[in-house]
Amino acid sequence: MDFEIFDGAMGTILQARGLPAGAFPETYNLTHPDVVLAVHKAYVAAGADVVTANTFGANPFKMKGMDVKKIIAEGVRIAKASGAKKVALDVSSHGALLEPNGSLSFDEAYDNYAFIMRAGAEAGADLVLIETMSDLLEAKCALLAAKENTELPVYVTMTYTEDGRTFLGTDPVTATITLCSLGADAVGVNCSLGARDLLPVVKKITEYATCPVIVQPNAGLPRIEGNRTVYDDTPATFAAAMGEMADLGVTILGGCCGTDPEYIRALKGLLRDKTPVKRNVKRHTAATSATKTVFLDEGVKVIGERLNPTGKKKLKAALIEGDVDYLLHEAIDQERAGADILDLNVGLPEIDEAATLVKVMKEVSSTVALPIQLDSSDKRALERACRLYCGKPIINSVNMKKESLDAIVPIAKKYGATLIGLCLGDTMPKTHEERFAYATALVEELTARDIHKSDVVIDCLVLTIATDETQAEETALAVKQVTEELGVCTVLGVSNISFGMPDRLKINAAFLSKCLQAGLSAPILNPLVAEYAEVLGGKLLTLDTSSYFTFDGSGAEGIRGMVLCGAVGGIEEAVREALKTKSPLDVINGEFIPALDEIGAKFEKGEVFLPRLIAAAEVVKKGMDVMRAGADEDDSRPDVILATVKGDIHDIGKNIVKMLLRSYGYKVLDLGKDVPESEVVAAWERTHAPLIGLSALMTTTVPSMKTTIDALRAAGSTAKVAVGGAVLTENYARTVGADYYGKDARATVKIAEAIIRKDSV
């Protein structure tokens, strides 16, 4: 193995030679090929082994109306003409955020990358360099496109800020583990900072990368001098810091913004006296999210089990109705209680599991920082979810049945997932010896199928003691044996031990304690249960649901007073007390609604500010929850469908409307943000809700309102449509074909009252 020296900057050099800022440097491949070739040749003369084709931003998404394939082909051709040993197809970000952070879909991004990869490979590139990536999901998307459309080696580099994270919050350990698991041929960092400032990031990468490490820093931090951007590193200071990186085990080195052939010459000179350092990297058993890595082989990790409809009526109803907020609450509560990983299972016969798993996974992973354990036996659902997951997921699970192995293992392999092997096959294991035999067979079979042993976690299978009291002991013994003899991590679904028994939590806690002593790595449990927190000794926290953001309710009297003050504390007790003498409907119509009207009127007059109105709605919601507890699930159709229209991701206003409508007792189906017209139409066809509320913040997305309303009318919708958002006016609302204009949340409530309660606005 020898060092591989890359070139330095292209864009900043072309700008110095007259390319205007904001213009596409890649167009020079067609208009100024001699200039591009001269830059490549200068790098080759300076000692670069690999030159990077001038294709960084050549993407059909950005270069609309241009012949991107030709630009890429010419870029590669010019680079090859430089005489370099290798030519890298240069690929970078779309410059737009992928869903759920932005509005660019994974599939659209993938199609663009696939196009680029095929064009580069056809033109004769020797490798693919995916660089300057901030979004780990986009990097994954590009890496998959490269792997699935070419045979070329793929190097991936992320860009980090001064705080050691990308703009989207990914740390180098998380990126490194995720990208290595996905099969990158080299991983590392480019751009970002100067070489010396990047050393801490590079050190982390070298500790975890199981493939070669590549580093291409800037020539220092850019700063403005006069009207020019300048960089502070000299070729000598740059090379000196790069030498330290080589000592850490970096073997692929080059430059980024602000560097030129002199920097590469200095680098080449320095590396001449060095030999590549071999790194000894421990392969961890890990799972990652976009922003966090959890090591299952370092201390006990708790896997939260609450996102699973089995035995949970409310969660089941939320999944069927598409009430993602309910699931997100469950996710947040588990994170706050101290869970390390969240198990996610949406398997219900009533829903499309693949579509729902992906939708919920996206929402959960954009709300909490924890890695997700995808829990499904549906091959299609797992494949799609693993593909779109940002990070290294855990798959729960595969067993020794051939059909399970054949279905699940290729997915885990392709997407670099950590895979739970369940001790189960054609027979049900009862003893620890039988479990251990399955565990051994699973480790052998999975490694034979090219899953690294560190990516295998064994579930020793918990069976209830209700039918066989030896099961607790046998399971714990199996955990001990698997841990000690196979050297892999273990998980257990703890609460299964007490199925069909009374006093379940005590049994579960005792079993948990026993298994932890046996070496259990990761119990799957409800992290909100106090009995588990005791056993886990401070690992779990008592969930504090009180908020410091409370209004002074000291003078509040009765339900009305509490709503008016926005004082949440005490409302549940007050409602319970009221229900002793009044019907729920009397409490709603006699207490909640008048109080909400009163605070709403004060808000309209400017006597209270918006958070006070929202707090009143929160108080009412909490009171309503008391009334709903124990009542049968409400399976009536929604009164209102809400959506932020296609192209718009500003949904705060819509969420305020939702909150207030719900506090008035309306049943709301929230379709979310960036919602295509077809989804709104489908929701109406499914529910026949009498009112549809659409929101848009910007002038550019208001046309989506019109197309959505037109589509609803064309589909025969009889629903009234109300629209709202910062740029809308009464007139504008009429122009897009809406029936009502909701100036604010209060106005929308009045519209709902007029339509649904047949009052007048």
């Binding site: 205007p20 800022a21 904001g22 213009a23 970000s93 410059g95 737009a96 955020l97 952070n101 932005g102 509005s103 660019l104 300057t132 901030s134 800020t161 705080d163 990308t166 703009f167 989207l168 919050g169 751009c191 850019p222 403005i224 009207n227 951007t229 907020d325 609450h329 947040i332 954009s366 709300t367 909490v368 908020s547 410091y548 953001f549 209004f551 926005g566 808000f603 400017g606 006597e607 209270v608 500010f609 918006l610 958070p611 006070r612 929202i614 707090a615 709605a617 929160e618 192209g647 718009d648 991701i649 500003h650 705060i652 969420n655 305020i656 909150m659 913040l697 910007m698 550019t700 997305t701």
Partner: protein, 193 residues
């Protein structure tokens, strides 16, 4: 002081009264509690004005600004300060999480973010404006796409010229929307005195 100005602005955005001491105290507490997600980043570049007809163009920069409003903004100007500012995605995520767990707090934080972005972007831009004024220019205010008849599509051009995606993580959607949400892109004119 920045904090006081931000709280005052946020209170106004939320329809509150300046003498509502409870509201001010709550906003201050929210601001302090979530301070770590206010991570301002700005990128600035200055380009000489090349032409004003039929649209504004600049030397060394591939941006074309159309409309009468921007022409008026650049009346007698010879240079433009291009700026892009963002608070980052962590702020958006926090607002989102709070919208589920503490909606009133989320609304308050969102308003504080808007107010902070405006004020902080002004403060950061002031350093550049002071420099230009020391060089003998008069500078006006930051004119943003969406003002007057300057289309939102100009966001993408300005952001590209500044390398905003690469340098501060600011992106523009196909509809011209800025992401992260608390972001500002604009142009300030420099008029020789």
């Amino acid at each position: 002081m920045l904090e006081e100005r931000v709280i005052r602005d946020a209170l106004r955005y939320l329809g509150g009264k300046a003498d509502d001491t409870e509201a001010v105290a709550l906003l201050r507490r929210v601001f302090e509690t979530h301070r770590e997600v206010f991570v301002p980043r700005q990128v600035v570049a200055i380009y000489p004005l090349k032409d004003k007809f039929p649209a504004l163009t600049f030397d060394g920069c591939a941006v074309t600004l159309v409309g009468e409003s921007i022409k008026k903004h650049f009346d007698e100007a010879t240079e433009g300060i291009f700026s892009a500012f963002t608070l980052g995605v962590a702020f958006d995520r926090r607002v989102r999480e709070l919208s589920l767990t503490s909606p009133s707090e989320s609304v308050a934080l969102n308003a504080l973010g808007s107010a902070y972005a405006e004020r902080k972007a002004d403060d950061l831009l002031k350093e550049v404006r002071d420099r230009k004024e020391a060089e003998g220019f008069r500078t006006n205010f930051r004119f943003c796409p969406g003002y007057g008849d300057l289309p939102l599509t100009a966001n993408a051009e300005i952001a590209a010229a500044l390398g905003a995606a690469k340098k501060i993580g600011l992106t523009v959607t196909a509809e011209g929307l800025l992401l992260p949400i608390k972001s500002i892109v604009g142009v300030t004119a420099c008029v020789p005195v």
